[in-house]
């Protein structure tokens, strides 16, 4: 059970408080971008490229302009006049807003049609005639560096190949030495395929430029509204749109999952059009556009190696990544980390030697890479290490749970320095795995498996014991386009003791309106119910870096506690003044200060706040509000122990997930109900890439499954019944001991599922399968091993 310091009426930390935001959503009163209607609002639709790589010979807009309702058609040439045809990416690369001469991926934006209705805009989009000269697309990243392959980025002066960057961490020489001397070395080539977040709400915006006041209001689906305001000012400052004249509003967002961090061309075109036309312009993409053109996730090809002893002591790992970034590097990473935090790939295990390296290449595909609950490439890192741990256990014939127990970093060894440079804050991995094994009944399952195998039945047990790294991050190392990755909270308590609090993050369903209120309730004793939380309006909320990579609790959650503590200090001063005692004579319990030894001498927080407006000590500033910008000293390192049990139909390759137990450790829990909901959703977004989802391209660069007809988002039928639980190892450096958790389940679960399936198939000599592991893939693997029908 989770201990609570506050009463249910206050609902501080640990209470499963029902969500404040639900009341509008369950009645259809949410306020999402496409719900916005402004006077004179026009609609934008986008003509997109049918080719992955082609020269644009001509764009004929004459027929489109004749379509009733069409007001304007914008091409790259129009934007070029304002130097808005290209924009910077988060990784300081450049991305086309609209092309002037070449298209680089199928579904790329080519022209924008603006009309009085969305139907007219669609008619206009169909009437734009574009003449292309198709070229041989570069699709296979392994061919990107071939001298025979075309150099895609001819716009970059002096660029003679498709290499984007090389990055590495760890000790290469030491790792090579350990590998050359190790008794056991295992190696697999794996692909973490390209997938897509596919939040149920697609991306969109309403750009509202007011010519009279030279002011832009941009309502948009963004997870990082302040950063985008700054980016817009950097891109459009030269036409007079400086930062104080831009207001970005991120209203209710229908899911983000990382897909709503980047700046997409559609947003910039809408701003440009609103600026030129002087009217509000709405752009809402449809699902196909979202899947085909917006930020993808993953697409890492990993050569993974593990060295160890015959007895099962891990000695070293080596991971070599080939990253397919599409035609530009628009991955949403902190600027110093082009491969994100992939170097967490040494995982939960205590060994001293590792080397990771990555090379990124351009291909004729849309940009992206960092999205879908990846915590900056941690999904890829965890998949690599957890797959290889099982691979190693299989090689030496050791139980994979025992092998993990024998190699875990011990509870007492934290803070622990990893061979690639991270300092893990805290963890109790043995307790987590033991709990998962107890819940699932591990020993009995292994016995059952032996019996099943004797009968020729396929049953597999897969484990993933992962370490996450979330809460980017310390200003020393972490920035987005130079802006340090702090976050913020601003709390203002009204005279009657009710509060408004604003944050630099932006919920997309994670429940911030409820949980931030709970943090403040914990610190001040004001009921969470009476704390109104707001995010997403850059005019009113304090500057923050946004919500992604599970950073809200580690950063803005910390800021909330620190700001509330500033207020508690003020309340203490007022209490001392009112009770006529020294501050040292006062004791706090949530909601009141009382005199030590005389609990009848008491002032409630409500009385103290009222006094801050009506009767405060001489020299004290009136009012009761505080702000804090929190620069985290380190990231938080939540962890988890997941166990999956699968049964496989030998005839069809059909995979049934019989059990899935997920034990998460995210330190102190703010709201168990919400944490569990995040885990359920994240596990479903783990089974999705593990078994169903993949964006598939053919050799010409055509996307083969760019709609929900064949991009298989799981329904309630495919989603297993999740069994969830927790252990609590607080983060020692976080003000409330909390760690992020939102992405843990998506990071941790795919390797558990893959390990379970491969465990089931291992008697036939199958040592690895790439995700998504579909029935066809299983059937094919069995057939190749001569095991089908046996």
């Amino acid at each position: 059970m989770i201990q609570c310091k506050t009463s249910k009426a206050i609902s501080g930390m640990g209470h499963s408080m029902k969500r404040k935001e639900d009341i509008r959503f369950i009645q259809g009163r949410g306020h999402y971008v496409d719900d916005i209607k402004l006077d004179g609002m026009l609609y934008m639709d986008i003509t997109r490229s049918p080719y992955a790589y082609a020269k644009i010979k001509n764009i004929d807009i004459s027929e489109a302009m004749k379509v009733p309702g069409v007001v304007a058609v914008i091409t790259g040439k129009d934007l070029e006049k304002y130097n808005l045809h290209w924009m910077p990416t988060i990784m300081s690369d450049t991305q086309m807003v609209l092309p002037t001469d070449t298209v680089m991926y199928q579904a790329q934006e080519v022209a924008a049609v603006i009309a009085t209705s969305r139907y007219a805009a669609r008619d206009g989009r169909e009437a734009v005639k574009v003449e292309y000269e198709p070229m041989q697309a570069l699709v296979d990243p392994f061919k990107a560096m071939d001298p025979s392959s075309p150099v895609l980025r001819t716009d970059k002066p002096g660029k003679t190949d498709n290499h984007i960057w090389h990055w590495e961490a760890g000790d290469k020489a030491k790792t090579e030495k350990v590998f050359s001397e190790a008794a056991v070395v295992v190696k697999e080539q794996m692909h973490i395929p390209r997938i897509h977040v596919s939040s149920i709400e697609t991306c969109g915006c309403v750009a509202d430029y007011d010519k009279i006041n030279n002011h832009l209001t941009m309502y948009m689906t963004t997870q990082a509204p302040h950063v985008l305001r700054t980016v817009f000012a950097l891109v459009a400052g030269h036409v007079g749109l400086t930062e104080e004249k831009i207001r970005v509003v991120s209203p209710d967002i229908g899911g983000g999952f990382g897909g709503k961090v980047p700046v997409y061309p559609g947003y910039v075109i809408a701003i440009a059009v609103s600026f030129l036309v002087g009217k509000p312009v709405k752009w809402i993409e449809d699902r196909s556009e979202n899947l085909q053109a917006d930020s993808f996730a993953r697409d890492y090809h990993i050569t993974a190696e593990m060295a160890g002893t015959k007895e099962g002591k891990i000695l070293a790992t080596r991971f070599k990544v080939l990253a397919d970034h599409g035609y530009t590097d628009a991955a949403a990473n902190p600027s110093k980390y082009p491969a994100g935090l992939f170097s967490i790939a040494t995982g939960s295990y205590d060994y001293g030697t590792a080397f990771v390296e990555a090379d990124a290449v351009y291909t004729n595909k849309p940009p992206g890479g960092v999205a879908y609950r990846c915590s900056f490439r941690v999904t890829e890192a965890v998949h690599a290490i957890e797959r290889m741990t099982d691979r190693y256990a299989l090689e030496i014939g050791k139980d994979p749970a025992q092998l993990r127990m024998d190699n875990f970093i011990k509870k007492e060894d934290f803070p622990w320095h990893s061979p690639t440079g991270w300092i893990y804050d805290s963890g109790d991995y043995h307790a987590g795995l033991q709990k998962a094994m107890d819940v699932v009944g591990y020993a009995d399952l292994r016995k059952e498996q032996v019996e099943k195998r004797a009968k020729g039945e396929l049953m597999g047990i897969g484990i993933s014991t992962f370490t996450e790294i979330v809460g980017a991050g310390p200003s020393k190392d972490f920035d987005i386009l130079g802006i340090k990755m702090f976050d913020s909270a601003e709390i203002r308590v009204h005279p009657t003791g009710k509060a408004i609090a604003r944050f630099g993050t932006k919920s997309q369903g994670q429940g911030h309106e409820t949980t931030y209120a709970q943090i403040i309730a914990e610190e001040l004793g004001i009921p969470a119910e009476n704390i109104q939380v707001e995010e997403g309006d850059t005019d009113t909320a304090p500057y923050g870096l946004g919500t992604y990579a599970s950073r809200s609790t580690p950063t803005a959650g910390a800021a909330a506690a620190v700001a509330a503590r500033k207020l508690r200090d003020k309340a203490r001063k007022i209490a001392a003044y009112l009770l006529e005692v020294s501050e040292d004579d006062l004791e706090w319990e949530p909601g009141k200060f009382f005199v030590k030894g005389a609990p009848e001498k008491v002032k409630t927080i409500q009385e103290l706040v009222f006094a801050a407006y009506t009767n405060f000590p001489q020299g004290m500033e009136a009012g009761f509000e505080a702000t804090h910008y929190y620069d985290p000293p380190n990231l938080t390192f939540p962890s988890g122990a997941y166990i999956c049990v699968v049964d496989i139909d030998k005839e069809t390759g059909g995979i049934h997930v019989r059990r899935f137990v997920a034990i998460d450790d995210c330190g102190h829990i703010i709201n168990p109900m919400i944490v569990q909901g995040q885990v359920h959703g994240g596990l479903t977004q783990g089974i999705a890439p593990a078994m169903y989802e993949e964006l598939i391209y053919d050799e010409a660069g055509n996307i083969l499954n760019g709609t929900l007809m064949d991009y298989l988002v799981p329904t309630a039928v495919e989603s297993p019944k999740w069994e969830t639980g927790h252990v609590v190892t607080p983060s020692p450096h976080h003000p409330i001991g909390a760690k992020g958790v939102g992405e843990s389940p998506t990071v941790g679960s795919p390797p558990a599922i893959a390990n379970a399936i491969i465990d089931a198939l291992s008697p036939f000599g199958i040592t690895h399968l790439d995700i998504p592991i579909t029935p066809f893939k299983v059937w094919k693997a069995l057939k190749e091993k001569g095991a089908y029908g046996k």
Binding site: I26, D34, G254, G725, H726
Partner: protein
């Protein structure tokens, strides 16, 4: 062309293009923006409404096809006095929503599901909402929410809404 339809018990006469999708009529002409659009292939069910009592995906029906018919959207589900429907209560109490984008469609679908099958099994619920995608919840709590409403509708005390978080 001119059509007449009843939406949430209010009669409307509207002039619409024959190609106008019902979902757009609901959202744009009537400003009932609780009904959402999540795809373009009739897959996600975020646009689910009740048409003459049947749950339908309003993105896949022309507005003119609703001529003379009765539409119910999420905005009509709570009582006029603000009293929540058992499904709305179930979704809130069981944390059956996060971002809220699929929620209106889920609830509209579930209304018909429970009318046809007042006491469904878990499997029947899962199959019953398989036309509605959710990206946030992983469905488990949606199942609980529907079970909660089913119990309430039948006058049975619903199971605990406390999270089973061991």
């Amino acid at each position: 062309m001119e059509i007449t339809l009843k939406v949430n018990e209010v009669q409307h006469t509207l002039d619409v293009e024959p190609r106008t999708l019902l979902v757009h009529l609901i959202r744009e002409n009537l400003n009932l923006t609780g009904t959402h659009i999540g795809c373009d292939t009739t897959t996600c069910g975020a646009c689910t409404i009740l048409l003459d009592g049947k749950s339908v995906k309003s993105c896949t029906i022309l507005a003119v096809q609703a001529n003379g018919k009765s539409v119910r959207t999420i905005e009509s589900v709570a009582g006029a006095d603000g009293h929540l429907h058992p499904l709305q209560e179930g979704f809130k109490d069981n944390h059956g929503l996060h971002c809220g984008f699929c929620t209106p469609g889920m609830i509209m679908r579930s209304i018909e599901l429970l009318e046809n099958n007042p006491n469904p099994t878990e499997e029947e619920i899962r199959w019953g909402i398989s036309g509605n995608l959710c990206r946030c919840t992983g469905y488990n709590n949606i199942v609980k929410a529907i079970e909660y409403a089913s119990a309430k509708n039948r006058g049975v005390e619903p199971a605990s809404t406390e999270p089973q978080f061991v």
